[in-house]
Structures are given as structure tokens and as C-alpha cells.
């Protein structure tokens, strides 16, 4: 039986339209053999949680540059809990002040990738977290 590809939802929450990072990551993950669903712009946490459930994804990646992360991330995680999807790791990339990182990790963000991160680092993180190896070691 062919191995199921890792499915990733890449989402742009909030009003910001700067989608360079989201697009680069979507393509890099796809090139690394993952299945990527990109939500497009201006998604509310409700829309993202619904898309994640419907697409049955293994990972959710959020691209946030606008400073709205402290509002958007906790709400999304809460919605995922309501849907019993708390085991789906949520990772974020973008402009995130260092002081906000502990708080985001505390509410359950699995990883935060700052500007300058190599795409391979994100690929590796996802493999480790939800790839076949992760299942065995857990």
C-alpha cells in the first residue's frame, strides 16, 4: 500500500495580504513530497479550523506578518480543541517579536519560524513531528 502523503494546510489568517512567505513554504513542502492545501488570503480562525477538519490535514501552517498573532493563534487552537483536533500541530512563520514567543508556545503553538529560516528546517520539523518516524517513536 502506498504511503499516505503528509497533508499540510497553509493558511493566511487576518487581513494581511503579504503572501510571499506562504507561497514559498507551500511550494517547498510540495517539492518535499507533501500534499499542500493553501487557503488563500484573509481567513478567519473559524475558516481555517473548518478547512483543516474537512481536508483531514496532519499539520497547519500559519503565515502572519501583521502583529495579530496574539489574537488569532489562541482562537484557532481553541477551535481545534472543540473539534478534537488538538493533536494537529500548528506552526507559524512570519514577523513575531521574540517577547511573544513563550506566550504562543504556552497556548500550544508547536513551532515558530522566524524570517531567515531555511525551508529545509521546516520540512525536517514536519517530518519529525508527523512523519512515519514520529509515529514509531511516540
Amino acid at each position: 500500500m502506498p504511503e499516505r502523503k503528509i497533508r499540510v494546510l497553509i493558511a493566511k489568517p487576518g487581513l494581511d495580504g503579504h503572501d510571499r512567505g506562504a507561497k514559498v513554504i507551500a511550494r517547498a513542502l510540495r517539492d518535499a513530497g507533501m500534499e499542500v492545501i493553501y487557503t488563500g488570503l484573509r481567513q478567519t480562525p473559524e475558516m481555517i479550523a473548518a478547512a483543516a477538519a474537512q481536508e483531514d490535514v496532519d499539520v497547519i501552517g500559519l503565515s502572519i506578518l501583521s502583529g495579530a498573532h496574539n489574537t488569532l493563534c489562541p482562537r484557532l487552537l481553541e477551535l481545534l480543541r472543540e473539534k478534537q483536533m488538538e493533536d494537529v500541530p500548528v506552526i507559524i512563520g512570519g514577523i513575531i517579536p521574540e517577547a511573544d514567543i513563550p506566550g504562543l508556545k504556552q497556548v500550544g503553538i508547536a513551532a515558530i519560524f522566524l524570517p531567515g529560516t531555511a525551508t529545509q528546517e521546516i520540512v525536517d520539523f514536519i517530518h519529525k513531528r508527523v512523519g512515519p518516524e514520529a509515529g514509531k517513536s511516540a
Binding site: G14, L15, D16, V24, Y38, S66, A68, T71, A99
Partner: protein, 567 residues
Amino acid sequence: MSDTTKTAATVETAQKRRASQHEREWEEKTLQPTLARSPERLAEFTTISGHPIRRLYTQADLADWDVERDLGLPGEPPYTRGIHATMHRGRLWTMRQFAGFGSAADTNKRFRYLLTQGQTGLSTAFDLPTLMGYDSDHPLSEGEVGKCGVAISSLADMEALFDQIPLSQVTTSMTINSPAAVIWAMYLAVAEKQGADWKKISGTIQNDILKEYIAQKEYIYPPEPSMRLVIDTFEFGMKHTPKFNTISVSGYHIREAGSTAIQELAFTLRDGIEYVDWGLRRGLPVDEFAPQLSFFFNSHSDFFEEIAKFRAARRIWVKTMKERFGARSPRSCALRFHTQTAGCSLTAQQPYNNVVRTALQALAAVLGGTQSLHTNSLDEAWALPTEFAATLALRTQQILAHESGVANTVDPLGGSYFVETLTNEVEAGAWEYIHRIDALGGMVHAIENSYPQREIAEASYRYQMAVDRKEKIVVGVNEFTAEEQPLEVLQIDESVAQQQAATLKRLRDERSAEEVRRRLDALQKAAEGKANLMPFIYDAVKVYATLGEICDAMRTVFGTYEETAIT
């Protein structure tokens, strides 16, 4: 156009160079032995955009170059050397730092601080709800109020923003696009209240919706009604505010989205062509509205490529205005531009390195003949700048202007074999794209077919892969890395949103609801027809109809736009 074909073409041209006898001897006697002893660092040298750069440029590269036709003199076509005869000797560029955060009062304080520090013009950053035409208390505004810029929901906020700043004496640039007509109407209302003469006030509204569809993606309405609004402002400005730039056709965001230098240049100028086309279709005489069009470019890290881009921009625009549009006024033909250093080049790692990057990028802009300049702050890969960081960025410009001596002569690089060759190549690359978009039926059609979006996404991915593979070095990121201490950054809390909500509630209670309704209805009715909407928007603004209400009146008629997302 793929990079491979472009590279091949350039190499071929290089081989066709008619090198002098001396140069050929040099190759044999001096160069070859050197290469045999010690090969060069790289097999191929390219700009940050991937454009090939040769070892040496000589007279042979300029065999087809005509000093009168291609270089000329400053203040005269083709404006390669600049649009003014004396350039920065006559007047330095305007130091215009983009600022905006929190409430109107917070930003007013920063504005007044920057003016006391020797800044010579204002530039306003609006928050995302404002850019998207939502009031601060709209549900979608949650978490975004005052974060990326200042929150402006009504004329009352605009009055607070420019409190004690005389609009008759300062020029103001406003980075606002889809709701530009509304924000501009608010600005004009403040000017009127201050007793400033509309015929004399000067400034710029960005108002460039095409690059929003292409790159920055803060659009509300579909292209057709959006373009109508832009042309409405052209027409209004032509009649009432002759010194105001009614648009700043922007490459900045195209570049930030990951384009190459040539793509930035080509897409921006093709956007400019599209606006002129639509203005003419409205029946506006070209020499009456074109002088109010201005441009805005990015200054990225590859020094000479950027200088070549600015020089080529002026050459393409004068040819376009004269040959394509039959413009006669020099003011229609001379491309004036603002520059901002490249935000996307700033690194979160070792942020103080950003001061050096910004200084070099600013130098390129000055040598490229910019009319105004924003220098980024060192902390912007983390957050909006602190006052300390913003001051240092302004000081960078002042050092360039007053200490470096680079502003003492006009176009100091004019006649350089390398700079002139690169200017020619960048220009040729841009024309190829412009012709391709012409063939696609113009920019609106090209956008609807995702053509520029796809080209930029390709270039952006190519660059990221080059950085990941260390083919392009980013100091402190993929080479020369180090452990470091966190930086002190500007924090904007949610109290701004609460304040804004309270202010809006009070405003809605105090104004005449009936008058607001009447003027919003008039605007909506006008939007259904063909009238110029500026007077209707102005009327609504004056009675404190909010930004969200005015944009909603037009949303009802125009609908909203969703792009086809490409990844």
C-alpha cells in the same frame, strides 16, 4: 521569459562585443595567466535578481550606445542623468520616513518628533483595517487595530492625526490604495478646516490598485470599479489640487513579493501605462493629468543593478509618454519617484547589520536620482520601529546628504561602462515584459490571468532556493551566524482597539445620523451611475460618515474581489 533564455541572450551579446586590439591582447597576456594561476571565486557572477555580470566592462560594451541619445544631460530627455538640471545640488531629496502605529494621537506624536529631527516630509502608514476599508470596531479588525499602521476610521481620526501640523507647509504621502479616495477626501477636509489652499497643498496618495492585485493584495473591489475610482481621483486632482500626486505607481511591493529588478521595473511601468490608458479613455487630456503621476521603487541590495533600474525607468517613461501617448509637456514625461530601501532584505538575525544594508541601499537610491527616500529601521524584521531605530534610519540619510559628498555632483556614475551597459540591459529586459503584457491585452487582463503574480512567485522561489543552497549569501542568516541577545521592540497593545471602539461609538451618537444616511445614499446612487465619485465621498466624509460606511456603500454596488490563489 525564462532566466535561461535571458542569460543565453546576454552571453551571446557579450561574445558579439567588438573588443579592441588592446583588450584582446590583455585577455591573452594578462587575464589568461591570472586565471590559470588563480581561478575566480565563482563560475558565474550574477546580481541578486540572477542577472549575469561580466568580469569587465569596456568601451566595447557600448558600441551601439549613443551618448546624446542614451545618456544626454540632466533635466532633458531621456532623463538618464536625472530629471532636474542640478539634481541634489539644487535641492536634496525629501527625507520622508514612513510612520504610523496605534491611534491617530500616537502617530501625530511620532510625526511631530520626526519633523523636529529634520525630516522634511510626512509619510503615513495605515493599519490593515483602514487599508481594507473596515472601521476599527468591525469584527474582522480584531487584533489588527493600530498594529501595522495608524487606525483611521473617520474624519475625526484624521483631524487628530494632523493636529498642529500645518498642511499648507508640509507635504504628506499616504500609503492607501483601495480606499484612497476616501482617505484623501478626509485629508482634503482637514486641509480645508485648517484654511490651507487646495491649489497649493502638496503630497501623494499611493492609490495604485494594480500592484495590490499583483503583489500586496489589499484590494476591496474588482478591477473595473477600482480603476474607475482611481481615474475619478485623477480627474478631481487635475481640477482642484494641481500640486498633489494623485497616484504613486509602485514597484516597491512587487519587489517585496519577490520579483527581480527587471520585473519590478516592467510591471510598475506597465501599470503606469494602464492608468494613462484608462485616463485617456475617460477623456482626460494626457498633459493635464499625467504630470500628477508619480512612481515608487524599491532599493534592494544589489547596488549597481538598482542604480541601473532607476536610470532605465526614466528612459522608458519618457519614450512611452512621447511615443505611445503623444505627451508634449516635459512634466508628463519626466518620471519622478520615491524610494524605500528593501524591507525584505532586513534580517531578524543580527539586526544591527540592517543599518549597513539600509545605508548602501539608500546610497543606490541617491545615485539613481531619487526625489524622496525612506530608509528602513534596523528592527523591522521584528516589529514596527522604535523611536530610537527610526531616528537612526533618518540619520543615515542625513549622513549621506551632508557628509558623504555624493550629492555634490549630478549622476556621478554617468558614462561608466558597467553602469551604462547594465542600464541598457535592464531597460531591454523591461521592454520585453511590457510588450508581453501589451500582447496579453493590458495589465488588467494580465492580472486576471495571474501572469505577473506567477512570474513573481517563480522569481521569489528561485531566490529562496538559492539562499537555501547558499548560492546567495545573507550575512548572519546562512553564513556568519552567531548567538545573540533579543532586541528591544515596539509593542502595541489592544488598548488602541478599545479606545477606537469607544471613539467610534461616541462619534456615531453625536453626528447627524440622518445627514450621514442621506449622503451615503447619494454616494451609492452615484456609484450605480457613471458620475465622478470624489465629490460624493467628500460630502459623506464631511459629516463624519466612517471609512467603513463609505466603503460599504460602494461594496453594495461594486461587489468585492477574490483572487485565484496560485502556489
